[in-house]
């Protein structure tokens, strides 16, 4: 009944036309700051559900006892293909889909009926790169106040009226023709919208890559933080002038700590990838591959922790920073680093993250940025160890010393940790994280720097299995307190969607061979699975309408599949395209 009172449902016979609003959401309740920080269990308002990026829903109607009965409720063909990195969001029984090419749809979350569709007008992309970015729009929307806030491949921030899908304002954040883009969506809280730029690999972006803050009412910029330039970092680039630096894309949406009014945001790798062509000598190249603690009011960096100084291999470190409160008591022999300062029994506000492609888990103190413990998941040979103070030591023996010299790096380049995000469960105090495990041949390569193209300057050659392994797909269940692995799932198909945890004791995962599955958080036992139309993608979400819990997941191609298939040819047996949305629920009780 609640749903019917909120939605004016029109007949499905309405023809689809670009940009047309078909129906509107009646009595849309604006999302308040209070709700953003503590959403109703029924809702899923942002990509990882809450500002701590946990991707945990307290809903427990679907649980370890009954998940075996889960069945499809409805499905929906998506209007655009490309890589599938979307996150279905839900507010009061209305689903919002932010899709590739800047398309946003609002659907009745119970029936899949289309309420409105918005199509962002995009420039014609001819250079190749921006076209690819437009086809990998990740979690490009967030629900805030009475709006859907969208980021676009041409570097705009756009506000839509959540009720009608009509544009309220748009703001050009950066000059897309230089190479800047968005792939990840914004974070919104306290009247502000925060964005992280993508595309700082492109020639024209030399000298700057940004995290920005905007007035949520108008889009007006409040501050911007350059991740590769400024007095704090200028001394770390081996004497390179700012306009000769590239990289530092903060291309995954950060997290927010309301108590500290602090953003925690990850920053990507430096370019050109190999130092011999980058010219940064033995400089650490800050803030690349770092976690930044940022004052949300001013944009000032409170502290930084660099996970991989002097990256020579495009191993990136922008991935999800998850905020957790936990006791910290690392187990010797399990972890590769443990801080001497940790007080057993004391609860810490920490950041849990696998920030880079090489799979190492880092647990940082949110106040100081101190490393409390670290451990590997997949086999890696790029971090040699840690100093007594917890600074990561890069394995410089694996640096290519000259142009054309090939090195084999076990660090997940093109097939490691990627945007597919892990999830935390307070029921187990564990972080469940998908990683692909592999090694890769990399060779510094002289290139002509061209407008609109990457300055990576490294040939990525053959992929290999990690030593002793014959598969690449992994989910690791990591105990936050001890650093122990609760369980590990290994398989040939790579995990191609983000992970979700629920109050029903479940972990949801999706893989490249069409399997969407639910596991027991405690032991990793598979409790339910289904084969869908193609590769599972995006970020699974769960919501509830009129007391009934639903699970939503999108399908479509993943960027790592071709590399994984070069190692496991059976992975080629899936047809890409056909991007779709599937919604599952338990059968209704017999009346």
């Amino acid at each position: 009944m609640k749903l019917n009172s909120l939605i004016t449902a029109l007949s499905a016979a309405l023809a689809l036309t670009a940009g047309a609003a078909h129906a509107q959401v009646e009595n849309y309740r604006p999302v308040t700051d209070k709700e953003t920080l503590s959403p109703a269990p029924e809702d899923w308002l942002m990509w990882r559900r809450t500002v701590d990026n946990q991707a945990y829903s307290p809903l427990d109607s679907i649980n370890t006892k009954n998940v075996g009965d889960l069945r499809m409720e409805w499905s929906w063909n998506l209007p655009v293909y490309g890589l599938q990195e979307a996150a279905p969001l839900v507010r009061d029984g209305v689903m919002f889909l932010g899709l590739n090419q800047g398309i946003v749809q609002a659907l009745n979350a119970v029936t899949g009926e289309l309420l409105w569709e918005y199509r962002q007008k995009l420039p014609e992309f001819t250079g190749g790169y921006h076209g690819a970015q437009a086809n990998r729009q990740r979690n490009n929307i967030v629900l805030y106040q009475d709006k859907v806030i969208l980021t676009t491949p041409d570097s705009k921030l756009v506000a839509l009226d959540a009720a009608t899908g009509k544009m309220v304002w748009e703001h050009q954040v950066l000059d897309w023709e230089k190479g800047y883009s968005f792939t990840a969506g914004p974070l919104a809280i306290d009247g502000k919208i925060f964005t992280g730029t993508s595309g700082c690999s492109i020639a024209g972006t030399a000298g700057g890559c940004f995290i920005t803050a905007h007035d949520a009412a108008t889009g007006k910029e409040l501050w911007r933080l350059n991740t590769i330039g400024g007095p704090e970092v200028d001394g770390t680039w081996g004497g390179l002038a700012q306009e000769n630096r590239w990289g530092g894309s903060p291309w995954i949406t950060g997290s927010y700590d309301p108590k500290r009014k602090t953003l925690y945001w990850g920053v990507g790798m430096p370019l050109p990838y190999p130092a011999v062509l980058r010219g940064s000598a033995d400089g650490a190249a800050l803030y690349t591959n770092s976690t930044l603690a940022i004052d949300a009011e001013t944009g000032k960096v409170k502290w930084h922790y660099q996970h991989l100084p002097r990256d020579d291999w495009d191993l990136d470190s922008p991935f999800e920073r998850v905020l957790v409160e936990s006791e910290i008591a690392p187990t010797k022999g399990e972890v590769s680093y443990m801080s001497k300062n940790v007080k057993p029994g004391q609860k810490y506000d920490v950041i849990v993250s696998v920030p880079g492609k090489y799979g190492t888990v880092f647990v940082l103190d949110r106040d100081t940025g101190e490393l409390l413990w670290a451990r590997d998941t997949a086999y890696q040979n790029v971090i040699k160890g840690f100093t007594d103070e917890g600074k990561a030591i890069t394995n410089t023996e694996l640096f290519a010393k000259s142009i054309g010299e090939t090195v084999t790096v076990c660090g997940g380049r093109d097939l490691g940790k990627l945007w597919m995000a892990g999830a935390y469960s307070p029921l187990t105090n564990a972080f469940y994280v998908p990683v692909s495990e592999s090694c890769k041949d990399l060779t510094p390569q002289v290139i002509e720097v061209r407008k609109g193209e990457s300055v990576g300057a490294q040939a990525s050659g053959k992929a290999h299995f990690a030593p002793g392994q014959d598969t690449t797909g992994r989910v690791y269940a990591v105990d936050v307190k001890s650093g122990k692995l609760l369980w590990v799932q290994k398989q040939a198909p790579i995990f191609t969607s983000s992970v979700m945890t629920t109050g029903g004791g479940l972990v949801f995962t999706g893989d490249s061979m069409r399997e969407f599955a639910a596991w027991d958080q405690k032991d990793g036992k598979k409790l339910w699975d289904v084969k869908l139309n193609t590769t599972i993608g995006g970020h699974p979400t769960t919501y509830s309408v009129n007391g009934k819990q639903y699970v939503a997941v999108v399908t479509g191609a993943n960027a790592q599949t071709p590399v994984a298939a070069s190692l496991s040819p059976e992975l080629k047996k899936v047809v890409n395209g056909g991007n779709a949305l599937f919604v599952f629920a338990l059968p209704d009780a017999k009346k």
Binding site: Y81, G82, L83, T126, G127, G128, Y129, G131, A132, N135, A203, G239, L240, A241, E243, N244, R245, P272, P274, A275, V276, L277, R278, G279, S280, I403, D414, Q445, V446, I447, E448, V449, R450, K451, E453, S454, V455, G456, A457, Q458, A459, S460, G461, K462, A557, A559, T561, P562, A565, K572, N576
Partner: protein, 246 residues
């Protein structure tokens, strides 16, 4: 009063600094930029847009004698040179009589004294020892001209289509629509035939190179196919042209 004092102080400082600048042979921070011109590979210029040259050496010995060297002006810099549309790691310096001469990929750079303005190439081939420096860091030594590729033939297109399906489609899409790899439909950069062939041979970023597995004929067929499919109309690439960039 305070302002007045600072003025005097800065005046003194300036006086003290002048001799040092003079001693450094008027060198400033040099700029090395990529430039383009008709009938020339992408090449390097200095901050004034003047063509930069390298001296060819044989068996470690410069083939430019003392008289030849008189026509050249070393590109000097006060400190680390600045790049524009070049890989910064290719820039360096070498000691030149106490001053710093800019190097690119380890080779010292010069301007040619008779070049008066941007776009002059008077030094190209001078004394068979001086050549334009390419953006790739190679002396642009002229080679025998390669014949035009000729018309696009159905046979080559068919061969290219089959090779594309087995080598490229997994990333670039069966119809060049792109997904993991770049979208090739309407991709403007395909207009540069040698660059297409070079990318197929050497790879680029996440794209692997095919130099070890594909022949010149096969690379030419794929290049021709992608340049003339899905609405693209860029003409043929010949095996001979591929050979020049392998």
């Amino acid at each position: 009063m305070r302002t007045h004092k600072i003025k005097i102080l800065s005046g003194l400082l300036a006086l003290a600094v002048v001799p040092a600048i003079a001693a450094a042979a008027s060198a400033q921070t040099a700029t090395v930029a990529k430039a383009q011109a008709p009938d020339m590979v992408p090449f390097l210029v200095n901050g004034d847009g003047k063509t930069l040259y390298v001296v060819k050496s044989e068996n470690g010995k410069s083939s430019c004698d003392a008289k030849c060297m008189e026509s050249l002006e070393p590109l000097l810099t006060k400190d680390r040179p600045l790049g524009q549309m070049v890989l910064p790691g290719l820039l360096g310096t070498v000691d030149k009589n106490g001053a710093k001469q800019v190097t690119y990929r380890g080779q010292p750079l010069f301007t040619f004294k008779q070049d008066a303005k941007a776009g002059d190439f008077k030094g190209q081939g001078y004394q068979n020892a001086v050549y334009v420096m390419s953006a790739m860091g190679e002396a642009e030594v002229p080679t025998a001209p390669v014949a035009e590729a000729g018309p696009v033939t159905p046979e080559v297109l068919a061969a290219g289509k089959a090779l594309f399906a087995s080598n490229c489609a997994a990333c670039h899409g069966a119809n060049g629509e792109g997904a993991f790899g770049t979208k090739l439909q309407g991709f403007a950069r395909l207009s540069n035939g040698p660059a297409v062939a070079r990318t197929i041979l050497a790879g680029m970023n996440s794209m692997p190179g095919f130099a070890a597995t594909l022949s010149d004929e096969q690379v030419a067929a794929i290049s021709t196919f992608v340049r003339n499919s899905w609405g693209n109309e860029f003409g043929a690439v010949s095996a001979e042209q591929v050979k020049t960039v392998r």
